[in-house]
C-alpha cells in the first residue's frame, strides 16, 4: 500500500492532489469577498499525499489509498505539544 521512501537530505513534502487548488485570480464581483475554501461534511475529503513515519519506516501515504475503510484524519500543532 504505502510506498517506502528513500531517506536523503532533502526534506520530503507532500500536498493536495487532484483538482487544482485556487482558481486563477480573475476579476471578482465588487463586494464579493473571496472565501477560503473550507471542507464540508457530506462532501469529498480533498485527496493528498504526505510523507510519514509508520512502523519504523519512512513512507509516502495517499489519502485515497484508504477508500473502502473508515478513516480518522487528525491534525495537531506539533510533536511534543503536551496534550
Amino acid at each position: 500500500m504505502a510506498e517506502e521512501l528513500n531517506v536523503g537530505c532533502a526534506r520530503p513534502t507532500g500536498g493536495p492532489v487532484g483538482e487544482s487548488e485556487a482558481p486563477p485570480a480573475t476579476e471578482q464581483e465588487p463586494g464579493k469577498k473571496e472565501v477560503a475554501s473550507m471542507v464540508q461534511v457530506g462532501k469529498k475529503a480533498p485527496d493528498f499525499v504526505a510523507p510519514g513515519y509508520h512502523n519504523g519506516k519512512f513512507v509516502n501515504i495517499k489519502l485515497s489509498e484508504y477508500l473502502g475503510k473508515w478513516t480518522l484524519l487528525c491534525f495537531y500543532p506539533g510533536d511534543f505539544t503536551f496534550v
Binding site: G15, V41, P46, G52, F75, Y76, D79, V83
Partner: protein
C-alpha cells in the same frame, strides 16, 4: 498530521510515545511541512504557522461525515470520536433508514425517521437519554 518533518515524528515516537503506547504509534504519522494540506482542510493557522487540533471522520467512499477543530491547549476525547464512527457506521448499514438520537451509543435506541414519527419523537425519546 502536523507541520513537523517525518524525522521529528520518528524521534517523538521512538523517544516518548513508545513509552505510552506499547510498540509505538500504530498508524502513520504524517508530515505536512508548509501546511499545504492543512490549508485545504481549514486547520492551518497562518499566524502561528501550525495546524490546529482538527479531526475528520471520512467514510469508505471518501466523504467527510464529521469534523471537530480545537485550539491547541485542549485535547480531544477519543471515545467520542469512536462513538461517532459507530453511529455513522450504523446509519450507513441501515442505508439511511435509521438515525441516532442525541446521546446515542451502541445498544441504545435508534429512531426510524418517517411519516409516522413526525411529532411523535417525544414518545420514543426522553431528554434524560441525551446524557444517560
Amino acid at each position: 498530521m502536523s507541520i513537523d518533518s517525518m524525522y521529528v515524528h520518528k524521534m517523538w515516537n521512538d523517544y516518548e510515545l513508545s513509552k505510552m503506547v506499547q510498540g509505538g504509534i500504530p498508524f502513520p504519522m504524517l508530515s505536512d511541512t508548509g501546511g499545504k494540506v492543512g490549508k485545504v482542510y481549514g486547520v492551518y493557522d497562518e499566524d502561528a504557522g501550525v495546524e490546529t487540533r482538527g479531526r475528520f471522520i471520512i467514510d469508505p467512499d471518501g466523504v467527510i461525515q464529521a469534523f471537530e477543530v480545537l485550539t491547541p491547549p485542549v485535547g480531544r476525547n477519543v471515545a467520542e470520536a469512536i462513538r461517532q464512527i459507530q453511529a455513522f457506521q450504523l446509519v450507513r448499514e441501515s442505508k439511511g433508514t435509521e438515525a441516532t438520537p442525541s446521546g446515542w451509543k451502541p445498544g441504545k435506541k435508534v429512531l426510524k425517521p418517517g411519516v409516522d414519527l413526525v411529532g411523535r419523537v417525544w414518545e420514543e425519546w426522553k431528554t434524560e437519554m441525551a446524557s444517560d
